[in-house]
Every structure is written in structure tokens, then in C-alpha cells.
């Protein structure tokens, strides 16, 4: 490399500049645009929003305001969607953890030659279509679907149970779709866990469950945290799962954003919804950012 320093420098500039430029243009810029448009008012025509600064009498005038945010905060319809989405995402994350942790633990304790196979089996559904995986549950939970037909045939119920289009169905959908994201980081931590402290605890007379709760669980906590964030953040803004499996009694934020932008074409309000959602998920994202170097290097 020392032979042609100028060439190498030009190369380095290109290698760093290409991804940098792309990310600034298509990750950073959109977030600025969305923030700017959330301060405008809806308008007829193309684009369907007013200008943020307008020119009158030869001077530039700022015409942005926080009206869309007042609308969001003042309308129970929107507040309920935020609270509901947070609740659904929180409960679904907890349920995913309850299923995912024992799986990750069992895989980490399995024999080495089994581990790769078991892990691949967790990841494989992730490679098949998200939409199809959510769709699969419609056929299972429907009033004339698999579960209801089976229960009716066995004579256990008289009438079909209302399983589909409920919050229960949304939980099932989220757990099903995001389980690999919970299992992987927890497994990664558990696999590298030093067994010595656990054995020491047992030698000192701790029962297995006590040893687990006081030694293993605290040591695997950053894997648990990473898994929970990887499930919680996308779940808060989820669209496909509540749209296909959820009821009409309440909308999640992702659905609200979709409706405002496609059906009502109120882009400034939709932008405000997105910015507010972004603020809700920014905290966990920044926590994960602080955490991830440790999680990957540990």
C-alpha cells in the first residue's frame, strides 16, 4: 500500500464515502424530511402539504407549527393507539421471552453436534416469507379454521371460539414472527457463559433453581435485554400482524400511519405520527447501540 499512497488514499476515500453518502441520503435525510413535513399543514395537490417557509414581500417567512402534534395529543383515538401499541408490544415481548429463554437455554446446553441443527431450525422460518407466516395463523384461528374445527369435531365446544381478530391473535402473530430474534442473542450469551460460577453455587449447596436465578440469569441479562429490544421495537410499529390478525376495536400506530398516508392522504399528520413513534423507539435503539459492541465482543 505504501507504494502508491495517493492512489490508496483515493481508494479509501471512495470506500468510506460510498456507504457514508448512501446512508446520509437514504437513512439520515428521510428522517429530517419527515420531521420537517410534520410541521406543515395538509394541502390539495402535489405535494399534499404546505411549504415550511414561504416567500412574501421579498422576505422568507417561517410557516411551520406544531398543530399536528397538538392534534395527536388531544385526540383520544391517537393516544389510545400509542398506549395500546406499547401495551401489545410489551406483553408480546414478555411472552416471547418466556418461550425464547428456555429454548435458547436448552440449545446452549445441548450437545455440540446438535446445536447447529437446532439453531438452524430456529432461523429457518425467518428466511420464509413473513407474510406467509402471519397468514398461516388465519387458517388456524379462523371460526371455520383448524382449531375450531378440531374442537367442534371433538365435541369440546358448541360454538366456534372467537380467536381470530382479537388481541390474543396479535400476540400469537408477534411471538411467532419474532421468536428467532429473542432466541439468537440469548443463546449467544448463554453459549459463552462460564459454567464455573454456577458449579460453585451448587457446590456451596444452592439448589439448581436458586443457582439459575442468582447466577445464570443475571449473567445472561444483556442477551435478554438485546432480545427484548429486537422484539419490542419492531412490534411497536408493527403493521402486518395487527392488520391481518387483529380486531377493529383498536388500531396500532403502524396501522394508523398507514391509514393516514394512504386513505386520508394527510401526510403532515402521518409524519407527526411517525416522529412521535420514532421518539418512543429511539430510547431503546440508543440503549441497544451502547450495548451491542459488548454483546458482539463478549
Amino acid at each position: 500500500m505504501s507504494a502508491r499512497p495517493s492512489n490508496a488514499n483515493a481508494g479509501s476515500f471512495f470506500v468510506a464515502g460510498l456507504p457514508y453518502g448512501w446512508l446520509l441520503a437514504f437513512v439520515a435525510a428521510p428522517l429530517f424530511v419527515i420531521a420537517a413535513i410534520s410541521l406543515t399543514d395538509p394541502a390539495e395537490g402535489v405535494p399534499p402539504y404546505t411549504a415550511l417557509v414561504s416567500r412574501g414581500d421579498g422576505t422568507w417567512r417561517w410557516t411551520g407549527d406544531l398543530d399536528n402534534y397538538w392534534t395527536l395529543g388531544g385526540d383520544w383515538h391517537y393516544v389510545a393507539a400509542y398506549l395500546g401499541s406499547l401495551r401489545v408490544a410489551f406483553v408480546a415481548t414478555l411472552l416471547t421471552l418466556l418461550l425464547g429463554y428456555p429454548m435458547a437455554y436448552a440449545i446452549a446446553r445441548a450437545r455440540r453436534e446438535w446445536r447447529v441443527l437446532l439453531l438452524t431450525a430456529v432461523m429457518l422460518p425467518f428466511w420464509t416469507s413473513f407474510l406467509i407466516r402471519v397468514y398461516a395463523w388465519i387458517g388456524i384461528l379462523n371460526s371455520n379454521g383448524f382449531i375450531n374445527t378440531a374442537l367442534l369435531d371433538l365435541g369440546l365446544i358448541e360454538e366456534p371460539l372467537a380467536l381470530l381478530y382479537t388481541e390474543f391473535a396479535v400476540y400469537i402473530g408477534i411471538i411467532y414472527a419474532y421468536l428467532p430474534f429473542m432466541v439468537m442473542p440469548i443463546f449467544a450469551v448463554l453459549e459463552r457463559l462460564d459454567r464455573a460460577p454456577v458449579e460453585a453455587a451448587m457446590d456451596l449447596g444452592a439448589r439448581p433453581i436458586t443457582a439459575f436465578l442468582t447466577v445464570t440469569l443475571p449473567l445472561s441479562l444483556h442477551g435478554v435485554l438485546a432480545g427484548c429490544l429486537l422484539v419490542f421495537v419492531p412490534a411497536v410499529g408493527e403493521f402486518v400482524v395487527p392488520e391481518l390478525l387483529g380486531g377493529s376495536d383498536f388500531l396500532m400506530i403502524g396501522q394508523l400511519l398507514w391509514t393516514e398516508s394512504f386513505q386520508n392522504r394527510d401526510w403532515p399528520l402521518a409524519a407527526a405520527i411517525a416522529v412521535a413513534l420514532l421518539l418512543v423507539v429511539a430510547v431503546p435503539i440508543l440503549v441497544l447501540q451502547k450495548l451491542s459492541p459488548r454483546a458482539t465482543r463478549a
Binding site: A3, S129, R133, Y135, G139, V233, A270, A271
Partner: protein
């Protein structure tokens, strides 16, 4: 068997049953004679035949494959560059910001990613007259952005494990930076790049939400067509399509795993 291992075994059984029974049911009922996807009434392949007659669907498959191929390829090129910048450039300006931008599409809810890109494209169109309407181009740009984030993670992991002495040896023997990269680094990175390409390709092929936001009239990708038919209810035809997708993914992944295993074996033999 101890109580503990009984518990762990049942966790595995319940977990894998939960993961695989729904997919198995979808595949099973794609061969059902009747329209029901819950009551078996006889074997038939007519729903597969119906897929071939569905022109909207076939057109969408073509568009999705084109977009996914281009997006995955560009994403791997830029993702490789990003991985190099993170691993090798000590003086990369604002490195934490760069890492944060890279991680953002990984974790941001798709609805935000999609809507913010839509607003960017509309705003750009007003400001500079590009990209000239929305469709395959804007979907590809969005999918490249998503793909870079995932590709970089995969390639960076490999780059960090790479034996740097091999590159140093090539440089000592007089190879220029580019020749070292092409003859030493690139072959060592190739398996990770293939894995990254497959990941970016799958993500593009699978994406409904972002594509819906940034697409325009006349450019419906496969998930968009599937979504509109799923909204109308379950149908064995969707089951048949799902089965074909699962089979295609399994075959491609199996092939990739076999190629990677062979590559690894040869490398070990050579070493």
C-alpha cells in the same frame, strides 16, 4: 431424567412445534381438493395449476426477482465497503454516527422506514425532478438501504476474524493494495458476501411494508399481490404459492450451505 432436563426438552418440543406446525398446515392444505384450509377432502394439485393462470401474480414474481437481484448486489458492494470502513479506517470521521446510521434500518419499524423514504422521494422530486415518479427504481433504492444494514453485519463479522498476516505477506511480496484485495481479501470474504447477498435478496423478496410505501401505480411486487389476496381471506391458492416459496427458500439455502461447507473443507485441506 432429571426434572431440569424434562423441562428443557419440553421447552424445545413446544417451541419447535409452535414454529413448524403452522407452516406444515399451510403446505398440507395447499393440496386440498376443496376451498377449505381446515377440513381435508382429498388430494389435488389444482391450486398449483391455478397459479400458472394468474398473470398478475406471475408479473409480480418477475418484478420482485428483478428488484431483489439488483438490490442485493448493490447492497453487498456498499456493505463490503462499509465493513472495510468500520474495521480498517481508524480515522473515519464521526464513526459512532456512521455505526448508528448503519444500525438504524435494522431496528427501525418498517412503517417509519417506508413512510420516511416516501416523503424523501416526493420531496426530491419537487426539489430536483428526480426520481421521476415512484416504482421499481424507488423500491430498489429502499431495498438497497435495508440490505446494506444487514449485509454489513454479516461481512464485518467475517472481516474481523480474517487473518491479517495473509494480507501483510502479499504486501511484503510487492502486491499493491488493490491486487492484495482482489487476490487475498476478496476470496477470504467470498462466503460471507454470498451469505450477505442471500440475506439481502430474501429481505427484498419478502418486504411488503416499505415497498408499499415507495411503490407507484403499476408496480406491484409479489408480497403486495399476496397481501391484497390474503386480505380477502384464506385460499388454497395462497397456500400453494406459500409452499412453492418455502420449497424455493429451502433449496437455495441448502445449496448455499453445501457450497459454504465445501469451500470451508477445501480451505482446511489447503491449509
Amino acid at each position: 431424567m432429571s426434572r431440569r432436563s424434562t423441562f428443557l426438552l419440553s421447552a424445545l418440543v413446544v417451541g419447535y412445534a409452535f414454529l413448524y406446525i403452522p407452516i406444515a398446515l399451510v403446505i398440507g392444505f395447499s393440496f386440498n381438493e376443496s376451498r377449505s384450509v381446515a377440513v381435508w377432502s382429498g388430494f389435488s394439485t389444482k391450486w398449483y395449476a391455478a397459479l400458472w393462470e394468474n398473470d398478475a401474480l406471475l408479473g409480480a414474481v418477475g418484478l420482485s426477482l428483478r428488484i431483489a437481484t439488483v438490490a442485493a448486489t448493490v447492497a453487498v458492494v456498499i456493505g463490503t465497503a462499509a465493513a472495510f470502513a468500520l474495521d480498517r479506517f481508524r480515522r473515519l470521521p464521526a464513526k459512532p454516527a456512521f455505526a448508528l446510521l448503519l444500525a438504524t434500518p435494522l431496528i427501525l419499524p418498517e412503517t417509519i422506514t417506508g413512510f420516511s423514504l416516501l416523503l424523501l422521494f416526493v420531496w426530491l422530486e419537487e426539489a430536483v425532478g428526480w426520481p421521476g415518479g415512484r416504482g421499481a427504481t424507488t423500491i430498489t433504492l429502499a431495498h438497497v438501504t435495508l440490505g446494506i444494514a444487514f449485509a454489513t453485519v454479516v461481512i464485518l463479522a467475517r472481516l474481523r476474524q480474517l487473518d491479517r498476516t495473509l494480507e501483510a505477506a502479499a504486501a511484503d511480496l510487492g502486491a499493491t493494495g488493490w491486487v492484495t484485495f482482489r487476490t487475498v481479501t476478496l476470496p477470504l470474504l467470498a462466503p460471507a458476501m454470498l451469505a450477505a447477498w442471500l440475506l439481502a435478496f430474501t429481505l427484498s423478496l419478502d418486504d411488503l411494508v416499505i415497498a408499499s410505501f415507495v411503490s407507484g401505480p403499476g408496480s406491484s411486487t409479489l408480497p403486495m399481490v399476496v397481501f391484497s389476496s390474503v386480505r380477502l381471506g384464506v385460499s388454497p391458492q395462497v397456500n400453494a404459492l406459500a409452499t412453492l416459496l418455502v420449497v424455493a427458500v429451502t433449496v437455495v439455502l441448502g445449496l448455499a450451505a453445501w457450497l459454504l461447507a465445501r469451500h470451508e473443507r477445501r480451505r482446511r485441506q489447503a491449509a
